[in-house]
């Protein structure tokens, strides 16, 4: 008998060891997420993928799928909470999409659009954060960092460099660079590193790339992230066998 659970009333099969999020994506069911990446494992920090099982909230990227579970995901209440999370992420940083080179390629922006976020609702905090332009080929704009730690994990797992960490607590936490001076220039980072590719926003970027991709040809210009992600995930599943 197939292992399966119910996601918003529809059956989703799963394999042993899969999380709810992995199983849902494999079945062509999108659950919004920011800190999770298929190659970086679960993290459970952004809470965007939160689902409700038996009245209790769980992050679906960390929660193993279990046979017979009834999982509520795209309910109006949960989508409202997701939108509120997005709004808080936006006001907690300084996200100026109109002049950001990541615009159109930005997972944060695309997810906000997908969730129907049309304003920031909460008062902007306008935090003062340090920008690091010291490296010749990479820059770090902490204004755009949402502290998802994808760069932290990618640097450790794939680049083998441990360039990044997070210090401080709560909304005062910031991305720290592991180097004697605390600057990228003294770190081992290189523009081709996975840590840079893993950034879902424009916080960590290769320098002098800018706006080379015309508007209309950027990643999320043609399709919403919910559609694009499923196709990408399906292709990677096939690729991985």
């Amino acid at each position: 008998m197939t292992n399966a659970f119910h996601l918003d009333g529809l059956e989703v099969p799963f394999q042993e060891g899969q999380t709810i999020l992995q199983a849902a994506l494999a079945a062509g069911r999108y659950i919004p997420h920011l800190c999770w990446h298929p190659d970086l494992g679960p993290h459970g920090s952004c809470r965007l993928c939160t689902v409700v099982i038996s009245g209790r909230p769980f992050s679906s990227c960390t929660q193993p799928a279990m046979k017979g579970q009834a999982v509520a995901c795209r309910t109006p209440e949960l989508n409202g909470m997701r939108k509120a999370i997005m709004q808080m992420l936006f006001v907690e940083g300084n996200h100026h999409c109109p002049s950001c080179e990541k615009s159109g390629n930005c997972r944060l922006q695309a997810t906000a659009y997908d969730l129907g976020m049309q304003d920031s609702h909460f008062p902007h905090q306008f935090p003062k954060r340090e920008r690091d332009m010291s490296h010749p080929d990479v820059f770090l704009d902490r204004d755009r960092c949402i502290r998802c730690e994808r760069c932290v994990r990618a640097s450790r797992i794939y680049d083998g460099k441990d360039v990044f960490g997070v210090h401080g607590r709560g909304m005062h936490s910031t991305l720290a660079v592991n180097s004697p001076s605390g600057l990228l220039a003294d770190s081992q980072i290189a523009p081709e590193d996975r840590s840079i590719q893993a950034c879902p926003t424009g916080a960590l970027m290769a320098k002098r790339v800018g706006f080379v991709v015309p508007i209309g040809e950027r990643v999320y210009d043609r399709e919403p992230i919910s559609v694009l992600e499923l196709r990408k995930y399906a292709a990677e599943e096939v690729h991985h066998g």
Partner: protein
């Protein structure tokens, strides 16, 4: 009227004893500004000033940003002419990456974008913003004096205006991805070529656009000539003029050397490489406006102020490169009898000649195979300073950036078109106030005369107030009887003092 004849109206000697009339907000201009008039008991004008009350701060908040972000960020200065800021900043950034000379496809694609911008901005100004005054009269019924009134009374003219603007916006959308705030220029070039299908789409209507533009020149000319005495005298004065020009002295919107001529049309300077602009132009700060007052260094701040924009460009050009516009330029310049044309209201006519030029230039470019690329970007030796100058629809636009060795902007200086015209607009306001308002019972129609004079310059008040940090500011606490209780003054260096 001589510009000095009303200079005493810039500052009244006894402002506390005068009645204050405020026109706020100024309508049918871009951005927020106001005019204050101080009148004595007999309604004689004692002081007339144009104030810009917006506060933007772009020069400050682009500090620390990566230089390649600047052309996209600073275009948010404006919603009407963002392309001008995008291109001026891009030209400055070209210098930073050692690419002052672009590949032919890149330069032509930028030019096409710029001409589209000129077309749509000039159409917007003439048809939407100014035609109500010109068609109905400056003091006509206020309820009708707007674009809706024009649509009702002159539907064909209004429709042409709307479609001319739409075409310019289509050029911008196709090239930059959006009608407003798109992206085409990148450091050292552009990010895409013009697809053949898009070229064909634009070609389809361009002959009609040229014909309508020619018709618009005819309308502007007729409106000027039908009431020649008023047209020549209204808010008028003699001045110097500044613009770009090609090496052989022709009209130029995208690139060229700086050319300044005096009120008689004699050269003050010519063929000046834009990177040396600071040797020729300085800015003065006055306590009562957020907008600075530029002047030509060799003439000093009293005599060195000048005008920019369509009137200046036509006065400074020896010829226009396209045939229809050149014929119209000659007809226009005949008014000057061998010298420059000085009438404030001649700006409208000159603006329509420029729109015709833009339409013709677009038509020529659409036949150029270079627009299909493929060589779109070039690079050279990195530099730490970049200066880009362009003729925006409203006049000469300067973008000047200094970056550090880590690619971050450390200093920016923008002199926008409207700022150059600051003294000119104030002079026009004073002249109109002295001529039409002095000693009269003020009505809305009379006050609109002031706005008509300002509108002729097509000011963009949003663009003109981009500075922050060095802004002089004066705050006065006045009691109900008009007595000054306290004054706090912040000077241009940021120091505050009480009085």
């Amino acid at each position: 009227m001589s510009p000095t004849a009303t200079r005493h109206l810039e500052t009244a000697s006894n402002p506390e004893a005068l009645n204050r009339i405020v026109i706020e907000p100024l309508t049918r201009v871009e951005g927020h500004g106001k005019v204050t008039l101080l009148l004595d008991e007999d309604n004689r004008v004692q002081q007339a000033r144009l104030h810009i009350v917006e506060f933007r701060g772009f020069e400050k908040f682009i500090q620390g940003r990566p230089y390649w972000e600047v052309p996209v960020l600073v275009q948010r200065l404006c919603g009407i002419c963002p392309v001008s800021h995008h291109l001026a900043a891009s030209k400055a950034v070209d210098m930073l990456v050692g690419a002052r000379t672009l590949t032919p496809p890149a330069e032509k694609l930028r030019r096409l974008l710029h001409y589209g911008q000129t077309l749509q901005s000039h159409a917007l100004h003439f048809f939407h913003l100014s035609s109500p005054d010109l068609l109905f009269g400056f003091g006509s019924e206020v309820a009708r004096r707007n674009i809706v009134g024009v649509i009702q009374a002159f539907p064909e003219v209004a429709l042409q205006g709307v479609k001319l603007r739409k075409y310019g916006q289509e050029v911008i959308r196709i090239l930059s991805g959006k009608r407003v705030h798109g992206v085409l220029a990148i450091p050292g070039g552009v990010n895409k070529a013009l697809a053949p299908a898009d070229r064909d789409l634009l070609r389809k209507d361009i002959d009609q656009i040229v014909a309508w533009s020619k018709g618009a020149v005819d309308i502007a000319r007729r409106l000027f000539e039908d009431n020649l005495a008023v047209s020549e005298a209204f808010g008028s004065f003699r001045s110097n003029f500044l613009s770009l020009a090609t090496p052989d002295g022709a009209f130029e919107l995208y690139d060229g050397g700086l050319r300044a001529r005096n009120a008689e049309g004699a050269a003050i300077f010519d063929h000046v490489d834009c990177v040396h602009y600071l040797r020729y132009l300085h800015e003065e700060v006055k306590s009562w406006s957020y907008m600075k007052f530029p002047f030509i260094v060799s003439l000093g701040n009293e005599e060195g102020w000048y005008r920019v924009g369509p009137l200046a460009r036509l006065n400074n050009a020896d010829r226009m490169p396209t045939p229809l516009a050149e014929a119209e330029r000659r007809a226009f310049m005949a008014m000057g009898h061998g010298g420059p044309v000085h009438a404030t209201l001649a700006y409208h006519w000159a603006r329509m000649v420029e729109m015709l030029y833009a339409a013709e230039a677009i038509r020529e470019l659409l036949d150029d195979p270079d627009l299909q690329g493929p060589d779109l970007v070039t690079r050279g030796e990195r530099a730490l300073m970049g200066i880009g100058v362009i003729e925006a629809p409203r006049g000469t636009l300067f973008h000047h950036y200094r970056v550090d060795e880590h690619d971050a902007v450390v200093k920016a200086n923008l002199i926008v078109s409207t700022t150059h015209n600051n003294t000119a607009m104030n002079t026009a306001v004073r002249n109109v106030a002295a001529t039409y308002l002095d000693g009269k019972e003020l009505t809305e129609g009379l006050l609109n005369h002031i706005e008509v004079a300002i509108r002729a310059y097509d000011p963009c008040l949003s663009c003109a107030t981009h500075a922050v940090g060095r802004m002089p500011l004066q705050v006065e606490l006045v009691d109900a009887g008009g007595n000054l209780l306290q004054r706090l003054v912040k000077d241009a260096d940021g120091r505050c003092s009480g009085a």
